[in-house]
Symmetry: C2
Subunit: 256 residues, 2 copies
């Protein structure tokens, strides 16, 4: 069965896109068939995977609003086993357009159910908000992965985010489960990181991945080359951490 | 005349809230009367200024949707000369509620015009999106300040953001001017920062502030104490940079 994973956090700049791209690449490198859906109008996941802006005519907007088929909007990437549904600026109008649809929260779910899914994993990169785009991702998904930057504001917003996830589970999608929280941009020289990590593990225990993604300059250089860090520099600390995360993620799937 | 400044960038985590809080505090420390309006449902600016969550009943939501007066929703902060209109979770529903109002882009502008403004500066902290909350800020403001993290994804989104600002200027608010772009979280050990800084200065020249805000751990520690970094540690590199920025900002105001 295809696992559909929404990568969500309304706090901005916490590593959602970076996690979506590199976790997907790491999974694909183990032989899995993986699809990334870019549901952020900024299109960072499309850029980070090297999809030329001119090749984004068919996009996640068409999936949500024009009822295009998944096959029509899926593009290949240079990474074997990894495909992408890119996004473009049309998507920035989608939140308003979705308001008028009766099934506005279910559009993505319906689009994915119609498709003949040949993927092992589908990862959905969400914008930094809890609007209809993110709600569509949460309604279509069966797992939620929350990247959490080791910073105070990110920690402060976490309990509200988890309440929203529960609300979607109760009202729109009973199959939705929180798969886990992954700490990102961890800097061992910064006490605040330890405090945040300790605090989150105390409250959420098992739900927090053991793998912690370190702050690593190679990770932030990779997007300017249109490559996941696993391709840009597979030996760096960031790449190794994302490989570990993929391993831990797939092991958790086996036991849930 | 009151200068109303929208602090805007749809890219998440680039330092909008940190800039709003610390620029406002630095301005207030020179004897100016300053107001911060928290227009982000996350409420990070309210937290960073030490506003207790229980004291946020009257909020920017009431200003936009319930037509409350500015006086009703303004709270004092421990910082002399600095007041705040806090935000709370009601605001997360505002984007959808605003869709049905005829004057949906002008609600904040109308609310501020009705008030007897005794402030020298009003800074509006915006969420990481270009929805109705940010459009309301751009329509009410006469200046736009764009914090830009020295990272590739942040740079990629800048030209689109500036197009939106121009569109608001042409269609909704002819008094809107881009005051400047401030580089944030600059780390001199990271080559990418130099490349981004060079690239932005090449394309936007004078519009880029000379003051660059360094990445400084004291800045990210301050919010957990409910204080601006200028109060938490006024001697650190982050505080000094924000004081310089305030000086540069106020000088630019004199010449525009
Ligand atoms: N482990 C890391 N080490 C260093 N830099 C990182 C790391 N993870 C992400 N970054 C950088 O931090 C910035 C924010 O990350 P990213 O864009 O993935 O976050 P996001 O949550 O998707 O942001 P948004 O809320 O805007 O969608 C990017 O410039 C990215 O390159
Ligand atoms: N100069 C700096 N040095 C170190 N950390 C910083 C600096 N500026 C901001 N930060 C930290 O980086 C994170 C992002 O900053 P901030 O929350 O101000 O960005 P934002 O653009 O308002 O985010 P959002 O898009 O979620 O509203 C915060 O945890 C903040 O404390
Ligand atoms: Mg992103
Ligand atoms: Mg903010």
């Amino acid at each position: 069965m295809t696992q559909i994973i929404a990568i969500v956090n309304n706090k901005g700049g916490v590593g959602k896109t970076t996690t979506a791209i590199n976790l997907a690449t790491a999974m694909a490198s183990t032989g899995k068939e993986v699809l990334i859906i870019d549901l952020d109008p900024q299109g960072n996941a499309s850029t980070g995977l090297g999809v030329d802006p001119a090749a984004r005519k068919n996009s996640s907007y068409d999936l949500l609003i024009r009822e295009a088929s998944l096959e029509e909007v899926t593009a290949v990437t240079p990474i074997p086993g990894l495909s992408v549904v890119p996004s473009n600026m049309d998507l920035s109008g989608a939140e308003i357009e979705l308001v008028d649809f009766d099934n506005r929260e279910y559009r993505l779910k319906v689009a994915l159910e119609k498709a003949s899914m040949t993927y092992d994993y589908v990862l959905i990169d969400c914008p930094p908000a809890l609007g209809f785009l993110t709600v569509n991702a949460l309604t279509a998904a069966n797992r939620v992965l929350v990247p959490l930057q080791c910073e105070f504001y990110a920690l402060e917003g976490l309990s509200h985010l988890l309440r929203i996830v529960n609300r979607v589970k109760r009202g729109l999608n009973p199959h939705l489960d929180l798969q886990g929280i992954v700490l990102t941009m961890y800097d061992k020289r910064n006490n605040l990181c330890d405090q945040v990590a300790e605090d989150v593990r105390e409250h959420l225990g098992e739900k927090v991945y053991e793998t912690v993604i370190p702050r690593n300059v190679r990770v932030s250089e990779a997007p300017s080359h249109g490559k996941p860090v696993l391709l840009y520099d597979h030996r760096c600390a960031g790449s190794r951490a994302y490989m570990h995360l993929a391993g831990e993620f797939m092991r958790r799937e086996k036991v849930i």
